[in-house]
């Protein structure tokens, strides 16, 4: 969203975009609360397997292991957490663009392109994990329409994945601007908003990871 | 001012209109009124209602009086340009009118919570159990203690607590008999209960029941009847219902839409196990329409097939329970046909009927999608309270159910009839009017 120019009077002194993104995040909270609540309400109500944490043998004798793979998802969670760190560094790099870079460390830390790339790639890696997880679940016999667990699991994590995807596209768009004309302190707010969104999506994942994967 | 005069005019008009409405609501015939409760459940609701109405009316009158007073007292006089006192508020006043509603609400909340827990308490042991299964768009009723399955009509002994167990076969419905109890939704994949005790002082009476949760095309046509009867009548009814179908009788049905040509054969239909209550004189006189009462079972009825008590039809005081839905335009039936129950049974057994209906005693008729027809002839309505159960209506019903009841799952059976759901005319396999008349005769013989 391009802004009302900074010279306009505002009551709080903050840029309007900053307020809007917080309102947006508040609204998104309700979205994910609804999705997560549905998952919890339907937990244990599925008539047929596969199930998240329990083994299941179908009436025709096929055996299903518990379907959730906690070690792999822990790895992808770690990747997403690291992307938030990279996002923090990217924002700092944009804000401090005009500070002198003396050491090699300064130059690495001050490279907005590097950290934006890092964030986007870590996000994409997370999506790769999710794609792998979804395909393997489908191979193991769990699809959107298998049971209530399948429906609520894929919809919840799919919605989160879609949010990560949107975030990656946002980051790539910022990178494109960075390559075209360079992001400077004047753009810090745009990066800041993207960062708020990115961190929010991260925090949501922590909740999902806890509720869906860790709690049996 | 002009507005002033009009206001007065309106106020007068308003009060007159209100009074007229209130009067209209108290006089006249209101067979489904919630203001005349006939069970302890409905009475406890009515008690709450009375209190709500009283407190609500007081608040209403006070607020509107204050408003009217302000309107008249403080309207601007012409050429009066003084600035009124610029008050911004008054803490004491505002606290007062915050607290007063709170106090009023306490007088509502306490009996409310008490009634909630009373009416939703666990039912006492020894209650009559009835399973209610909602279907699009009819009601299945089961009496598990007596092994009876019926549809769209409930018999209740007055003074005996009845516990309804509510489940749905498809979408959500809601079970309501206004004078006997509040509603309870019939929710898919859930089991609900509602219980009450019809007043023991009730004489044999009939109550209209409704589906009150929107459930699709024929939601309006998903009605039922509740008959509260004396315990011994109930026992007789139970005994009759527990028998297999009174089938084998060679009876004929009246020609639908014809003149009443069939004589009442007086040989069958002796009383059930318990003494049947004598039919009041008016019972066989059709008051509302010219269709003949269904013929009772014919000559061949064997002794064990005697029908139990059924609620007498055509009592003028229960005219409200006799459906009067309009017939679809263009649906006609040949005049002068005479049905043969034996032929009808054969026709019934070779058509789609058996795929959806159970008739205990007819080994081929085992479908469970549609209503159980075992004692079909003893029921007073067809189509879940949409039409009276007379041969004339039944013939039209079988011929084209979907024209008579929008969305009905029962297919259009009559040859050359237009099926409004499949959007085509029935050609192969359709029944001609004689076959339908035979089936009507067969079904009506199932007392």
């Amino acid at each position: 969203m391009s802004a009302p120019a900074a010279h306009h009077y505002t009551t709080t002194g903050l840029d309007s975009r900053k307020i809007a993104i917080w309102a947006f995040i508040g609204s998104e909270c309700m979205l994910f609360i609804s999705l997560i609540s549905t998952y919890l309400i339907y937990k244990g109500r599925s008539i047929v397997g596969p199930f998240p944490h329990e083994e299941w043998t179908s009436p025709d004798g096929r055996h299903f292991e518990p379907i959730l793979d906690i070690p792999i998802t822990s790895a992808s969670t770690f990747v997403l957490l690291m992307s938030s760190l990279a996002m923090v560094l990217a924002l700092a790099a944009v804000q401090n663009k005009n500070l002198p870079k003396r050491t090699r460390g300064d130059r690495i830390l001050g490279s907005s392109k590097l950290w934006l790339w890092m964030t986007a790639l870590l996000g994409a890696t997370f999506l790769g994990f999710q794609a792998y997880e979804f395909t393997s679940f489908v191979h193991e016999g769990l699809t959107l329409s298998t049971n209530l667990f399948g429906s609520s699991f894929f919809t919840l994590t799919g919605f989160h994945g879609a949010h990560v995807t949107a975030g990656v596209i946002w980051l790539v768009s910022l990178l494109a601007i960075d390559y075209r004309r360079g992001l400077g302190p004047a753009d810090a707010l745009n990066v800041d908003i993207a960062a708020l969104y990115w961190h929010f999506v991260d925090v949501v994942w922590i909740v999902i990871f806890t509720v869906v994967y860790l709690i049996e | 001012m002009k507005g002033n005069f009009r206001l007065r005019q309106f106020t007068t008009f308003g009060f007159v209109a209100l009074a007229a409405l209130a009067l209209a609501a108290c006089a006249g015939e209101y067979p489904n009124t919630t203001f005349e409760p006939k069970s302890e459940f409905a009475r406890s609701i009515d008690f709450l209602w009375d209190r709500l109405l009283l407190l609500g009316t007081i608040v209403f009158v006070l607020v509107e009086l204050a408003l009217i007073y302000v309107i008249f007292r403080y309207r601007r006089r012409p050429n009066d340009n003084t600035t009124p006192p610029q008050t911004h508020g008054n803490a004491l006043l505002e606290v007062t009118w915050t607290l007063i509603p709170a106090v009023i609400l306490i007088f509502i909340a306490i009996p409310t919570v008490r009634t909630i827990f009373e009416t939703q308490a666990k039912v006492a042991a020894g209650a009559l159990e009835i399973e209610v299964i909602g279907h699009q768009w009819w009601w299945e009723f089961r009496y598990p203690q007596y092994n009876i399955v019926t549809a769209n009509e409930i018999y209740l002994p007055a003074g005996v607590t009845v516990n309804f167990k509510l489940t749905s076969a498809d979408v959500i419905h809601s079970f309501w008999v206004p004078q006997l109890a509040g509603k309870r939704d019939v929710v898919t994949n859930r089991t609900n209960y509602i219980w009450f005790t019809p007043d023991s002082t009730l004489g044999p009476s009939v109550w209209n029941g409704f589906c009150t949760e929107y459930c699709g095309s024929s939601h309006a046509n998903m009605r039922f009847r509740v008959f509260t009867v004396r315990p011994e009548q109930f026992e007789s009814w139970v005994a009759g219902q527990q028998q297999p179908a009174a089938f084998g009788a060679v009876a004929s049905a009246a020609p639908p839409e014809g003149t009443p040509t069939l004589p009442q054969s007086g040989t069958g239909a002796a009383g059930g196990a318990a003494p049947a209550i004598p039919r009041p004189p008016g019972s066989t006189v059709p008051g509302a329409d010219s269709f003949p009462a269904p013929a009772p079972i014919g000559d061949g009825a064997t002794t064990q097939l005697a029908a139990g008590y059924t609620f007498p039809e055509h009592l003028p005081e229960f005219a409200y329970a006799r459906p009067n839905s309009a017939l679809p335009r263009g649906l006609k039936f040949s005049k002068g046909l005479t049905g043969n129950a034996a032929r009808g049974m054969q026709a019934y057994g070779t058509t789609a009927c058996i795929g959806c209906h159970v008739i205990t005693g007819n080994p081929m008729s085992v479908g469970i999608i549609g209503p159980n027809l075992t004692h079909f002839g003893s029921r007073s309505t067809i189509g879940a309270g949409s039409f009276p159960n007379t041969p004339a209506y039944l013939a039209l019903w079988i011929k084209n159910t979907r024209a008579m009841k929008p969305g009905s799952i029962m297919p259009t059976m009559g040859a050359n009839e237009y099926d409004p759901i499949l959007k085509r005319t029935v050609t192969t396999g359709g029944l001609d009017d004689q076959q339908i008349a035979d089936i009507v005769a067969y079904l009506m013989s199932l007392k």
Partner: protein, 617 residues
């Protein structure tokens, strides 16, 4: 009039260059006032469509065994009547006032995101068309405005009808959410110097509360609809009976949205009435802080009462009791509002203009709806009332007697500000009385037919049930409402062309929006006002009077004043159109979805990368 700072500039003839002309100007506008007027016209059109649907319903029920329309058509009509009135009429009528008024009331030049604002409108328009058109082909949604599952799942509603509803509501949700983010930001961030929160006009306050309700309630219905959409299109099992789904999931999600939605519909009307009553009593609003807090409290409590729509579903005595008490609690802040309005008029100098009559009408009629609301806050009593015509009577007293009366008050009151001309008071008087009488004639008898056992949503009923007279009266009332609305429409268009010239402050009102010319210049305020009180024109200081004096001067263009205004742009409209095309693809061919998505992405980037307004020097 004894106003302290009565602006005097009244131009003698229509403005030489009407800024509101030219179709292209309207399509590309990002001016909040013009968008507000677009909302007003569109929403009034849908109000008339929804009203005509209701008339057919009443004609069908005029007597027993009505055969005007088929059962299927009737079910489509009542579904679309509810959906139209809630989502396409009352909400957007409120939005018309949000758009037009909020920036004027807080002393801003526009909303925070003018192009997003245009986007909201276009999404609403296209979404409204999408969901309305099917009724002309007998393909309209027929699952009720509440769309209870499993009836609305593919198993029980195989046709395309429900698809229109699910997708249409999804589209309209986007519009409401985008608008809500915009207005929250606007109100927080674009208030003029001195316009503290506790000086904001009550309409802006109530709108502020409503925007929070929107951003918190709409995501819930979005999720419920996504489940239904996925069930119907992609085979998920959220509401599938055979998979063991719980139908109450939908009901809870729907009503967690649905009850705050009721306050989304009524609070803006409360706000409008809180503007009208003080002006025509010539007194400040009584108990302003309490009015603010009660509005907030209604909003907060509104999230804790949703299950009172479900007292018959068998939630058990504990849940029933909790929701009964929380529902009763809402009566307290609502009652406070009624009493404070009456106290506002107390000792005032009441002038019975059309706007004032409608405002008083709201107080009188909403009281009835509020009292009947308390009657079914008691679950056992509700077991007799729910899903009968008693409920229909109740919520029409709330939504027609409340929201619509308030909105009419707002239209009569703000018409001069929007158009520069006055509406005919004579016709307004006829409109009010006809509307008031017809409204009571239509809905009051429904209390009786309901308590006498008439269920809702039935397309036919037998005679001899004791309902005939009440239904006949209701139907006659409905026909009279058509006449009343026709008079209003005539008055609206006639006054727009030939009404008396209004001037900046025709009513002698006290709030900020009346310090600027009518119609409002595109830049709103020549100088940003400095606000020192709640009623700058009544009780303001020199500073207020000074900015009012400057701002009431007409005739300067934005260039002359050196005010930078945003570019007009068609891009938000294209994004909105592409989004609706994308959704259309779901019910036609996936190719359309991809085409729509592609156009949307391109147009969105083009929008985001183009500057909002000329560079400032």
């Amino acid at each position: 009039m004894a106003t302290t700072a009565m602006p005097t500039s009244i131009s003698s003839d229509p403005r030489p260059s009407d800024p509101y002309s030219g179709i292209w100007g309207w399509i590309t506008t990002v001016d909040h006032k013009r968008i507000g007027i677009l909302y007003l016209y569109t929403a009034l059109s849908f109000f008339i469509i929804g009203g005509l649907e209701a008339v057919v319903i009443r004609a069908q029920l005029q007597g027993p065994n009505g055969q005007l329309v088929s059962a299927e058509m009737y079910n489509q009509l009542f579904t679309m009547h509810g959906t139209t009135m809630v989502f396409l009429a009352i909400m957007p009528l409120s939005a018309a006032f949000f758009n037009f008024l909020i920036p004027l009331q807080i002393g801003a030049r526009d909303v925070a995101f003018p192009r997003l604002n245009a986007f909201s409108y276009w999404v609403y328009l296209f979404g409204g068309i999408f969901i309305t058109v099917p009724i002309f082909f007998q393909l309209a949604p027929d699952g009720g405005w509440f769309g209870y599952t499993p009836l609305t799942t593919r198993d029980y509603s195989p046709g395309i009808n429900i698809d229109f509803w699910v997708i249409g509501l999804q589209i309209l949700g986007v519009s409401s959410l985008a608008a809500a983010f915009n207005f929250i930001t606007t109100i927080i961030n674009l208030r003029a110097p001195g316009m503290t929160l506790m000086r904001m006009p009550m309409f802006t306050w109530m709108s502020f509360v409503v925007q929070f309700l929107v951003i918190l309630a709409f995501p819930v219905i979005t999720v419920a609809l996504v489940f239904l959409l996925f069930d119907r299109f992609f085979g998920t099992q959220f509401y599938a009976v055979a998979a063991g789904a719980d139908p109450l999931l939908w009901q809870h999600l729907f009503w967690i949205f649905g009850h705050p939605e009721v306050y989304i519909l009524i609070l803006p009307a409360f706000g409008l009435v809180s503007e009208v009553l003080p002006t025509f009593s010539r007194k400040p609003l009584f108990g302003y802080p309490v009015m603010v807090y009660s509005g907030i409290l209604i909003g907060v409590l509104g999230f804790g009462v949703w299950a009172h729509h479900m007292f018959a579903v068998g939630m058990g005595p504990i849940a029933d009791s909790i929701f009964a008490v929380s529902t009763m609690l809402i009566a307290i802040p609502t009652g406070v509002k009624i009493f404070n309005w009456i106290a506002t008029m107390w000792q005032g100098q009441l002038r019975f203009t059309s706007a004032m009559k409608f405002a008083i009408g709201l107080v009188a009629l909403f009281t009835i709806g509020g009292i009947s609301g308390v009657m079914h806050s008691s679950p056992p009593a509700d077991l007799q009332q729910t899903d009968t015509y008693f409920i229909v009577a109740h919520f029409h007293y709330v939504l027609f007697g409340g929201s619509i009366m308030g909105i009419f008050a707002g239209i009569y009151y703000y018409f001069p500000k929007m158009t520069g001309r006055m509406m005919s008071e004579r016709l307004g008087n006829v409109h009010f009385w006809l509307n008031f009488i017809a409204m009571n004639l239509t809905f009051f008898p429904m209390h009786f037919s309901g308590m006498l056992g008439m269920p809702r949503r039935i397309y036919t009923y037998d005679s001899g049930q004791g309902w005939d007279t009440f239904n006949l009266i209701s139907s006659i009332g409905a026909y009279m409402l058509v006449l009343a609305t026709a008079i209003f429409v005539y008055n609206f268009f006639m006054s727009r062309r030939r009404g008396e010239i209004a001037g900046a402050n025709p009513w002698g009102a006290g709030t900020l929006e009346w310090t600027i010319p009518s119609p409002v210049p595109e830049y709103n305020f020549a100088v940003l006002p400095t606000v020192t009180s709640r009623y700058p024109l009544w009780e303001g200081t020199e500073a207020d009077a000074e900015s009012a004096r400057i701002n009431s001067q007409e005739g300067k263009t934005s260039e002359e004043l050196g005010i930078v205004l945003p570019y007009s742009t068609v891009k938000p409209m294209i994004v909105a159109l592409a989004m609706v095309i994308m959704f259309c693809g779901l019910i036609t061919t996936m190719a359309l979805t991809f085409l729509g998505a592609a156009i949307m992405v391109v147009a969105l980037y083009s929008w985001l990368l183009s500057p909002l307004e000329p560079e400032h020097h």
